[in-house]
């Protein structure tokens, strides 16, 4: 029998560093928290798409769509399952629990949080819990980001019940759905109180958050919104550096133009994150300066800012050397070389749709998935309102179409956030008879 080898302090440090390296280097689609387990290192089998319902299209409700994406499968490229939540609440983003057994998904309009079991049968997710009292208990509206920490889920919101502005906060839930604490975004001292994405670097005990806008803006028709000068001033211009352990804000960084998705480099040698700003069309780098203070610096331009291409989702490669950026208005997918993160260089672009938003990639970067919808009131109209998931193969030079699912033709709705899934894990002891669960008194 193999006995555990006792580790010296130096060996312990090396082991812990290799753990964080292992986690960071092995991540797949890069929206995942560093605490996510069972990372898919090979071929993914499934893509889950959190889909916004569209009146008159199918049941009109928000739904979780499951697509088979394994080329060896007989149903490759096909929708194999849907689970509707029975209402339309502006389905937007979702996130795995740390054990990857559940997907938490949110609605920006009704503020519902839906919990789907994706472990019992990964190809047939089940809705197992609905949390509908987030606004009542916290005053926060629009659960946007679902970020796993051990045994818990941090939910970042976009707005509030008082005035529908972007002043908001985060809520920590246990994986069982119990509300543990709520944390307001800092206001004052440079803080605007706005929130959007969350990204943690455990090695540095740093959590970054970004800033978008409130419900009065994101539920307003985009054409009307851009003409409202006062409303257009109500977008976030900050990122916050937090102590991830204590969940206390340490510093507010000025990042004008609504910084959105945060991506820490997954390369174990790196210690920086990037973000794209939607309104100013820039890439910003967040890193420590020579004195160890966290700073934000503008490092690249995306497209022609004067045309407001509206950068939206970004996806960093597992080695931290490349960054995909989608621009919504012109439907382009851009690739930036991040070999020198202080000087990113665009090396590729392709029009991949009339409107494009989310982008996810396989761990090895060879497969790229793109969806279309941003927000129901911001998506384009008429023939430009394509709704799809498009899968591409990437050989480092060209995106080659692999398959497409037309979400309008399939009567599904507006395709939004994606997460990759696998069929290759089965719960141990799933079929064993069990003793009744007891809780300690």
């Amino acid at each position: 029998m193999k006995l555990t080898r006792l580790l010296s302090p130096a060996a312990l440090l090396l082991a812990w560093l290799s753990v964080t390296a292992c986690f960071q280097a092995a991540a797949d689609e890069t929206c995942n928290s560093p605490y996510i387990a069972s990372l898919i290192k090979g071929q993914e089998d499934l893509v889950y798409v959190w889909t916004l319902g569209e009146p008159g299209l199918g049941d009109g409700s928000d739904k979780l769509v499951t697509i088979d994406v394994n080329p060896k499968s007989a149903t490759y490229g096909k929708v194999i399952h849907t689970v509707s939540v029975g209402r339309r609440g502006e389905a937007h983003h979702m996130g795995f629990t740390d054990d990857r057994r559940y997907l938490w998904a949110g609605g920006l309009d009704d503020s519902n949080i839906y919990v789907f079991d994706v472990a019992a049968d990964p190809a047939k997710p089940r809705l197992v819990r609905t949390i509908s009292d987030l606004p009542a208990k916290t005053g926060f509206v629009g659960p946007h980001t679902f970020y796993a920490i051990p045994g818990r889920m941090v939910v970042g919101a976009l707005s509030n019940t008082k005035d529908g502005s972007g002043v908001t906060g985060m809520t920590v839930f246990s994986n069982q759905g119990k509300l543990i604490r709520s944390v307001p975004m800092p206001v004052g001292g440079g803080g605007d109180g706005y929130g959007y994405d969350i990204g943690i670097n455990p090695r540095k005990n740093v959590m970054l958050t970004s800033s978008f806008t409130g419900k009065t803006n994101y539920m307003t028709d985009l054409g009307k919104l851009v003409k409202d000068e006062a409303a257009m001033k109500k977008f976030g211009n900050t990122m916050v550096v937090w102590d991830a352990k204590s969940l206390k804000p340490k510093k507010v960084l000025a990042v004008p133009g609504s910084p959105l998705e945060i991506r820490w480099s997954l390369n174990p040698k790196d210690n920086w994150a990037v973000v794209a700003t939607a309104l100013t069309s820039k890439i910003w780098l967040i890193k420590q300066d020579a004195k160890g203070a966290w700073q934000a610096m503008e490092v690249a331009t995306i497209g022609d800012p004067a045309k407001i291409p509206l950068p939206v989702d970004i996806s960093i490669t597992h080695d931290g050397k490349g960054l995909w950026v989608n621009t919504f208005m012109d439907g382009k997918t851009h690739y930036f070389d991040l070999s020198d993160p202080e000087h990113p260089k665009q090396t590729y672009e392709k029009v991949t749709g009339k409107q494009v938003n989310m982008i996810s990639q396989s761990w090895d970067g060879k497969r790229v998935y793109i969806t279309s919808s941003l927000l129901a009131n911001w998506d384009k109209k008429g023939e430009d309102n394509e709704q799809f998931l498009r899968a591409f193969n990437w050989d480092g030079k060209e995106l080659t179409p692999a398959f497409e699912v037309d979400f309008i033709k399939e009567k599904l709705g507006r395709a939004h956030h994606m997460k990759l899934g696998t069929r290759h894990l089965k719960s141990a002891y799933a079929d064993e008879p069990v003793e009744r669960v007891a809780r300690m008194q």
Partner: protein, 210 residues
Amino acid sequence: MLAAAAGAHDVLPPLEFEPPAPGSYRLDHIMPAPDGTVLDVRNRRARLSALTAGRITLLSFVYTHCSDETGCPLAYGVMDALRGRLVHDPAAAARVQFISLSFDPQRDTPEAMKLYGGDRAAARQGPRWHFLTTPSPRELKPLLDGFGQDLSLVLDEEGRPTGNLSHVLKVFLIDPKSEVREIYSTSYLQPRMVLNDIQTLLLEEGSAAH
């Protein structure tokens, strides 16, 4: 009290950041710790709650056949490093204990856990360290589910179990009232941070006593 012992007996690897001071932050009440039937190294049955009541407990799910140095052996290493620090503070050591609980009862018998624990299972100095298993999966599963410790069989292309297990390494910090107050996975299993959390709970106990 632990800080006083630190200087001469610092066996913990350094951090790349300045952690928040013990007692300066809140450890949330995450969930009540689940209870269930366990076996110790002498094959004696006990309720887990009876073992954890009244002490600060660091509990890790392990299995002795784990060959991943960044998995169960890492948890063992962290707990042993903390034990090395606490040995020099008998007052704190008396209020803290460790539990290594197997999630492979078919292979990890009480005898196997005794061998796995080695002299740590019988140590008279420092915090008590229990090496536990369960009579069968029937008693184990509610503990796994209750703690939220996932455990999966890795399947091959044909859907057959390969014999390997996949799990998120999780270590649970349980307070004397049997509330889970922190959960560590590999990315956050830093000995100094765990020690700070133990110290935070000790300070909390001290405040409650007054």
